[in-house]
């Protein structure tokens, strides 16, 4: 469980909700009739997602202790297998399930 007091939890969840709803409602609130999308918005919309998903992959691995044994080996192996499986079969759920199962096996049995 989290150490956060309830009011901080509520603010965190509300900020996530507010940001989400801002991105969903904003276009419907600000568009006037049929103006073309501003070029900067269009550019960021195309260029940003890959960068954000790259950022999120690193975010998921931020607490790995590279300096201590097992030196992030379970993470590296499981990420490589997830990616390899996905490049091979291109089935999102299969790659995710297999990668997670392998990681659990690695941290519970192999590198325990």
């Amino acid at each position: 469980m989290t150490d956060m007091p309830l009011y901080q939890q509520a603010i965190t969840v509300l900020l996530c909700t507010a940001a989400t709803m801002l991105t969903r409602f904003l276009p419907f609130l600000v568009i006037s009739a049929r103006k073309p999308t501003p070029p900067l918005v269009r550019y960021l919309g195309n260029a940003l997602p890959a960068a954000i998903f790259g950022l999120l992959v690193v975010y998921c691995l931020k607490d790995v202790a590279w300096g201590r044994p097992p030196h992030g080996m379970p993470e590296l192996i499981a990420v490589a297998v997830t990616a390899g499986l996905h490049l091979w079969l291109r089935r999102m759920l299969v790659s995710m399930a297999a990668g997670t199962a392998l990681y659990m096996l690695l941290v519970q049995r192999v590198f325990a």
Binding site: T12, T20, Y59, A97, Y103
Partner: protein, 262 residues
Amino acid sequence: MTKGHVCWRALLAAFPYTTPILAGFAFLGFAYGVYMNVMGFPFYYPFLLALVIFGGSLEFVAVSLLLAPFAPLATFLLALLIQARHLFYGLSLFDTYRGLGWKRFFLIYGLCDETFSIVFTAKRRLPKDVDRGWFMLWITWLNEGYWVLSALLGGLVGGMLPFDTTGLGFVMTAMFVVIFLEQWLHESCHATAMLGILAAGGSLALFGAQSFMVPAMVIILLVLLLARRPLEQRYAAPFSESEAAGDGGGRQGAAVERGVMR
């Protein structure tokens, strides 16, 4: 036709479109509920977060945010960046959702990647005797229902799983690795994908796990703005193409759809 009949008919027409999403959301939503339970939250947390945020990626990230020290600015910035793609769904569906009264609020509230791809694809092939507003509303609500109920179920079952759940949190890493790869495979230019990894990795090495996200996001935005001239042409095609062809919806939605539909 009575009002109830119109509503029912639209539900029957909408349901088949959502079955691929049912399969995907049942798995991911359930995994999310189990994940949050394993991280020590009571069963109603995944349910509530799924209900109010209703954006899968951010809901997973929100678990980490709740477990880390309170950081409102970083939370809001990160949430905005993760969800920024929705701006384009709204831009693409502005006309489609016009003049639908109270339904519009729920349509926009529940406009996730998957709902966008279905509505965007199905709106042209709709039989004449089906009410457009109800049809799109049912697609939105069905998808939302699949996700929220799966998350609730995962939260309930998570504590009773008959095996050791150590390491199950890796499901979030696996999800983002897969989404990142899908994005990579659909882009001819990989500059911003590399930028995301490098900016985050460099910032992590410099500032440490607790405080690297804001600098990383600032670096990403700054580089994108400064390198706009060379990058803009390379990143011009995908969105406008799919919009002009009008065939498959946004890249994000299409990527998720492809992943889920197989």
